[in-house]
């Protein structure tokens, strides 16, 4: 997908002025965090499970090649196929090739962020294969030709009215007098449309919440059951997953499942949790004839061994988005690529480059709420800072802002000069701001004063007052006398 991360500020500005989006974000910001808190509170071992989940993935990332090869062996033994894709283009070609061999005209899809990352829908369409999203949210945004705005709730930015509008526009057979005024009616309408497509599809494309090396299985987690129809009805099942989704054993997978849904939606388990292992075996009542796993790298292996390795622990629960005050202010589309929120701000520069995604690690107060709720304890603020350090190394003191920072840092290292210059500055500002106590406008600080008043300094610095006594400002003397 083409990124608009360079326009992050403009995107964010527009998002802040979209009343429907703002309503949706407010609901999201209140709903998910409360549910997560309650779910975590009901499980005494939740914090220990987070530690365990972190250790599982840390171990995997130290032995990634071993577990991936083991996974491939197991899949192959069971009659499936593993395809290695170094980048998005390779993954797209592999998937198209499988579809062509199967003679597929239509592909049903369950929600996959990797599918979004490689923009598989556009590619299949361009090559004469119809992709059909079957997750309700994904189906809606596919109709609207929009990217997802949240990794687990792709259409969270839309109101019910907007969904109804979209259905009426795209479902041309829909009678005008049919009411679509509540979520259930909208769901029924989508189901009616999708039922035939499930049956007609030749290939089912799913993502994977995890891949299990021990058994050669993929794990699918949904609340709608659409993934189960997607993989079990067509003749061919293709799994598209990035390589860090691997875990060693079934037990490891279940440990991670225990923190996944709780962190995401506050559910103890998602409604459907499915383990798919290879194609249909003799005697199986259903299942696909062919089972393919496309393993995508797309820049991830280059993060291994760097200060960003821990990002590869991410299980895409969305908790960091739900708790992020920046995401909660601007929504997912502002980030300009398929991922968003804190995990997106760390991962996107790793996948499309820090020059392209330069805004994202900077658009954060580093408030730390993301890290405090991440089930995998990923130190997201530390990595946002690490991207800033990479930027600083690459561009040095290029811009005016950086020169100002350098000048300040030079002063901060020279206490005597610092006291002199800062003292003069606050004396001046203190003198002109004394009457009102604050400024409505300040040159060089309009980013502040455009929307906020700026408190005026008292006049003398604390160090001046403490060490040298007051200089014409009675407050210093008064304060010292208090002691």
């Amino acid at each position: 997908m083409q990124s608009t991360t360079r326009e992050f500020k403009e995107n964010a500005y527009a998002a802040r002025r979209d009343p429907q989006l703002q309503d949706a974000l407010q609901r999201l910001g209140h709903g998910f965090p409360l549910k997560r808190l309650q779910a975590a509170g009901r499980l005494p071992e939740f914090e220990r499970l987070r530690d365990q989940a972190r250790e599982i993935k840390n171990h995997v990332l130290e032995h990634l090649d071993f577990y991936l090869e083991r996974f491939e062996e197991r899949v192959t033994e069971q009659g499936g196929h593993v395809h290695w894709a170094t980048d998005a283009e390779a993954a797209r070609r592999i998937i198209l090739e499988i579809c062509r061999k199967a003679g597929a005209k239509a592909v049903t899809k369950s929600k996959s962020m990797i599918g979004e990352e490689i923009a598989i829908n556009d590619y299949l369409e361009d090559h004469g294969v119809e992709p059909i999203e079957t997750d309700l949210g994904e189906y809606i945004i596919q109709l609207r030709h929009e990217p997802p705005s949240h990794i687990i709730a792709p259409a969270i930015h839309l109101s019910m009215g907007q969904v109804e509008e979209t259905f009426r526009e795209k479902h041309t057979d829909l009678p005008e007098d049919r009411l679509l005024d509540d979520p259930e009616k909208l769901l029924t309408e989508a189901r009616t449309q999708l039922r035939q497509k499930f049956i007609a599809a030749d290939v089912g494309l799913t993502g994977a919440n995890m891949l299990i090396a021990e058994t050669g299985s993929n794990v699918l987690v949904t609340n709608e059951g659409n993934a189960d129809l997607t993989y079990s009805l067509p003749r061919v099942h293709i799994v598209i997953a990035s390589l860090e989704k691997i875990v060693p054993t079934l037990e490891d997978a279940t440990a991670i499942l225990r923190v996944l849904a709780r962190s995401a939606t506050g559910q103890e388990m998602s409604v459907y949790t499915t383990f798919c292992t290879g194609p249909r075996r003799p005697g199986d009542l259903d299942g696909p004839d062919e089972y393919h796993v496309v393993l995508l790298d797309n820049g991830r292996s280059e993060l291994v061994g760097t200060e960003f390795q821990e990002m590869l622990r991410c299980i895409r629960c969305g908790a960091c988005l739900n708790h992020c005050p920046v995401y909660g202010t601007v929504g997912g589309h502002a980030y300009g690529w398929v991922y968003s929120g804190p995990m997106g701000a760390v991962l996107i520069p790793g996948l499309i480059g820090i020059d392209e995604a330069g805004h994202l690690p900077n658009a954060s107060t580093l408030c730390g709420r993301c890290e405090s709720v991440c089930p995998m304890r990923i130190p997201l603020p530390r990595m946002l800072r690490a991207w800033r350090a990479r930027q600083f190394e690459r561009h040095g003191t290029g811009t005016a802002g950086r020169w100002a920072l350098k000048a300040w840092a030079m002063l901060a290292r020279r206490p005597w000069l610092y006291r002199r210059i800062m003292g003069l500055g606050v004396a001046f500002l203190g003198a002109i701001g004394r009457r009102r106590g604050r400024f409505g406008w300040l040159p060089l600080a309009t980013g502040w004063t455009n929307t906020r008043d700026m408190a005026a300094p008292e006049g003398d610095t604390f160090l001046q007052q403490w060490h040298k006594g007051p200089r014409g400002d009675a407050s210093g003397e008064r304060l010292r006398q208090r002691r």
Partner: protein, 268 residues
């Protein structure tokens, strides 16, 4: 005065006040309040004159080399004190959490940063637990809401300490905001670089404060408080902002943040 004071009494710990650049430059009253409270709690305090800033603006801008230089200078200035106390969770977090992280692979400075960090405390938690203030001896009839600044809360775990101390102030009622733990949108240079997003964030905070019915917002970090005060004032909301240390020290002759000196403004 870069050396710790000669202790008159061996049992009184020597405390170096890291005043923080914002308090030093913008609101010295917080520094005096901190000094008074620490003295009352039984500390011998000193304010080394060659302190500047903890280095956060450089650190959060990715300028690692300058941050390390500033950090080394700060560590040197405060070596020899029993404790180093800062009236800010953000600056104390920088000293206590980020200095050791920055020097963790440095065989010389790593151990020095660790030893330094072990002696660093945020003012309010220090007064609650390390050198307890005991009887607060202050009266301040007001209804106030407490804003938990991010670094204090999530890096240092400061949550109940300021509330415990403030509960000892006569006449002060604390009402909790639903969004007390939500970032106010200050974030250092963030509030200038991403002013529109920052404004959206501080508006959530302002709305939440209004909903509490409080007449005052208290906190432990001047940066957040200046941001919140600035937005409250621009929106014409009559809620005053103060550092919690001012209230604990009973410093009611100091005007609220962003209000001209003397008696507090009563209407806007």
């Amino acid at each position: 005065m870069n050396t710790p004071p000669e202790s008159q009494n061996a049992s009184r710990p020597k405390v170096g006040l890291f005043v923080t650049c914002l308090v030093d430059l913008m609101r010295p009253g917080v520094g005096f309040a901190a000094a008074e409270l620490l003295t009352r709690a039984g500390c011998d305090i000193a304010v080394p004159e060659s302190q500047t800033c903890c280095g956060q603006p450089a650190y959060n801008s990715g300028d690692v080399a300058d941050t390390k230089a500033i950090a080394k200078a700060t560590i040197q200035v405060f070596e020899g004190f029993d404790y180093v106390v800062a009236p800010s969770g953000s600056c104390a977090g920088m000293l206590k959490v980020h200095y050791p992280e920055m020097f963790k692979d440095d065989p010389d400075w790593g151990p020095r940063a660790d030893a330094f960090a072990a002696r660093v405390f945020e003012l309010l938690s220090f007064l609650a637990d390390v050198m307890p203030l005991g009887d607060v001896q202050a009266a301040w009839p007001a209804k106030a809401s407490y804003h938990d600044s991010c670094a204090g809360l999530r890096e240092l775990g400061v949550k109940q300490e300021p509330r415990r101390l403030l509960a000892g102030v006569d006449g002060l009622e604390i009402v909790e905001g639903e969004e007390a733990e939500r970032c106010c949108g200050f974030g250092g240079l963030f509030c200038i670089k991403y002013e529109d997003i920052s404004t959206g964030m501080v508006d959530v905070k302002v709305d939440d404060l209004v909903a509490t019915g409080a007449g005052m917002v208290l906190g432990g970090d001047l940066g957040c408080l200046m941001n919140i005060a600035g937005r409250l004032q621009r929106r014409g909301v009559n809620i005053e902002a103060r550092h919690a240390a001012e209230v604990l020290a009973g410093m009611d002759d100091l005007a609220p943040i962003g209000v001209s000196g003397g008696a507090p403004e009563k209407s806007e």
